[in-house]
């Protein structure tokens, strides 16, 4: 198991967002997190790479173990953690820099200065993110000029470039058109051979298309976790069944 979550509770100020979460995420697989909006699934993945630390009212207890080490341990360097656990956001958020510099950014901030190595990694990452062919001859153009789908694949390339072990995706397709969505889904399929992917989605078809495991969150609780086929075909919990059959929310 790549990630193990033990009795995780998260609150922001007075509001208790995640309640006693226990789950395991296997290595080199795609795990989908589903559930109605506000159920805490985004908060959950933002706890894994400690993005929630940026919010002053954030409080937690319990453990998130990455390779059996608690990410909230006081000895953990957040910078290294986020390098290991990359993140792709809901809305594509390239920096207002050139396409090349977007991908090179992570390398530079982590101290890589050899331009040749940077160029190689940028190319590899863009290829791995299946966008190389589209941007090969305009690497110096601003990333802001790309289409939404291209921007999101660029953001994935940017994440891959720092060589993470886990990639968290927070509804990566929700701002994209159907064709771009399919491209990203294909890409996720390929990426799972090398990375552990945890993906939040509000789209159940998407979960069935790309994930092997699915976890269903409701009002801050983890209701059920199982193989995707299993969970969608014969859920063990009534609440899960209500949700996936649309009787709910």
């Amino acid at each position: 198991m790549k990630i193990k979550v033990k009795n995780l509770n998260v609150s922001f100020g007075e509001s208790h967002i995640l309640k006693n979460i226990n789950m395991s995420i296997p290595e080199n697989s795609v795990t989908a997190l589903i559930g109605p909006s506000g159920c805490g699934k985004s908060t959950f993945i933002r706890s894994v790479n400690r993005m929630n630390d940026l919010i002053p009212t954030f409080q937690h207890d319990g453990k998130i173990l990455l390779d059996d080490k608690d990410v909230y341990d006081s000895k953990v360097d957040v910078v290294n953690l986020r390098k290991k656990v990359g993140m792709v956001f809901q809305k594509p958020n390239p920096f207002p820099k050139s396409i090349f510099e977007n991908v090179a950014y992570g390398l530079r901030i982590h101290g890589e200065t050899d331009e040749e190595i940077i160029e190689q990694i940028v190319e590899d990452s863009l290829k791995a993110a299946a966008i190389w062919d589209e941007v090969e001859d305009k690497l110096d153009n601003s990333a802001m000029g790309l289409s939404g789908g291209q921007q999101q694949r660029l953001c994935i390339a940017r994440t891959i470039a720092v060589n993470p072990e886990v990639i968290l995706m927070d509804e990566p397709c929700s701002a994209l058109d159907p064709i771009s969505t399919l491209k990203i889904e294909d890409l996720i399929h390929k990426l799972k051979n090398d990375y552990t992917i945890v993906m939040v989605t509000h789209n159940m078809q998407q979960a069935t298309r790309v994930s092997e495991y699915t976890s269903f969150f409701l009002s801050g609780e983890l209701i059920e976790s199982d193989y995707t086929d299993q969970l969608f075909v014969s859920p063990k919990e009534q609440k899960t069944e209500d949700y996936i059959t649309g009787r709910f929310g």
Partner: protein, 284 residues
């Protein structure tokens, strides 16, 4: 029904349309008349000799070269000092400050500083830099006074710009494992550069136009200032002296026109610069 109504709504709309358009035209005319008059009267005096020689007979004859140098000198000092302070303060406000009361207090401070009349800055320059610090009438004293005046402008414009940078840029950077400083210097500041430049140039434009604040700090020497501790006479001060002491109307017009042209060039070139940068980083 309104019995006192003189005109129907439609008629009053028509009348007011004319009044509104007139207000726009009058504003435009004011600008054209002032700019046009000063430039037309000033242009005949401007030639290479006027720009690149020193004044003779207290400015009655000769050029304004030392004044151009003085103006550049004090303005550059002001910008060099005020820019890091103003941008630093803006970064603090947008990236670090959490206490709302402190934020309001600092903003009120900047507003107050920006609202102090330039003549008070002039007196302060005299009492503090010239006398108390013992710097004397010099380019440095003048530059320091102008830096204080430029500070709030740079701060306010930079703060507005920095707070408008989408938080998704920062998230993207943190998500890659960047530290706060790396994020500020590599993502936030580059995206804010156009706004910051606008602020700095706006401040420079005001500094280069200022006479009252420097008149008791910079001295009034007609010589070309070499060191920071030499006295000088920036262009606006020269214009003031030429005009009020009735030395030379012709050279006064020339100086005024040069000043206006500098201001126009600064304004127009920033607009173009910022637009280009914006296009480059945001794609077309």
């Amino acid at each position: 029904m309104n019995f006192r109504r003189l005109w129907s709504p439609k008629t009053s709309q028509k009348i007011m349309n004319v009044v509104f358009v007139l207000s726009g035209i009058v504003t435009l005319l004011i600008l054209i008349i002032i700019l046009g008059y000063v430039i037309i009267r000033g242009l005949p005096a401007i030639n290479l000799e006027f720009l690149f020689t020193s004044p003779l007979e207290s400015g009655k004859e000769g050029g304004i070269f030392p004044m151009i140098i003085s103006s550049l000198y004090v303005t550059i000092i002001a910008a060099l000092i005020a820019t890091p302070l103003g941008v630093g303060a803006a970064i603090y406000m947008s990236e670090y400050a959490k206490n709302q009361k402190l934020i309001k207090f600092i903003r009120f401070g900047a507003e107050t500083l920006a609202s102090i009349p330039s003549i008070i800055f002039g007196l302060f320059g005299l009492a503090f830099f010239v006398v108390f610090m013992g710097i004397g009438w010099s380019i440095l004293s003048g530059g320091l006074v102008l830096a204080l005046m430029a500070l709030p402008t740079i701060f306010q414009v930079s703060e507005v710009t920095l707070s408008s940078i989408p938080s998704s840029y920062k998230e993207g950077s943190y998500g890659l494992g960047a530290t706060k400083l790396q994020t500020i210097f590599n993502v936030v500041l580059p995206a804010a550069i156009p706004g910051i430049i606008t602020g700095v140039i706006l401040a420079i434009t005001r500094a280069i136009s200022e006479a009252a604040a420097v008149m008791y700090a910079v001295g009034s020497s007609l010589a070309i200032p070499i060191s920071l501790f030499d006295p000088g006479r920036p262009l606006p001060l020269h214009l003031y002296i030429l005009a009020t002491e009735g030395i030379s109307l012709e050279n006064a017009y020339g100086t005024a026109a040069v000043l206006i042209i500098i201001v126009l060039i600064l304004t127009v070139s920033t607009n173009i610069l910022v637009e280009n940068y914006q296009k480059k980083i945001m794609g077309k």
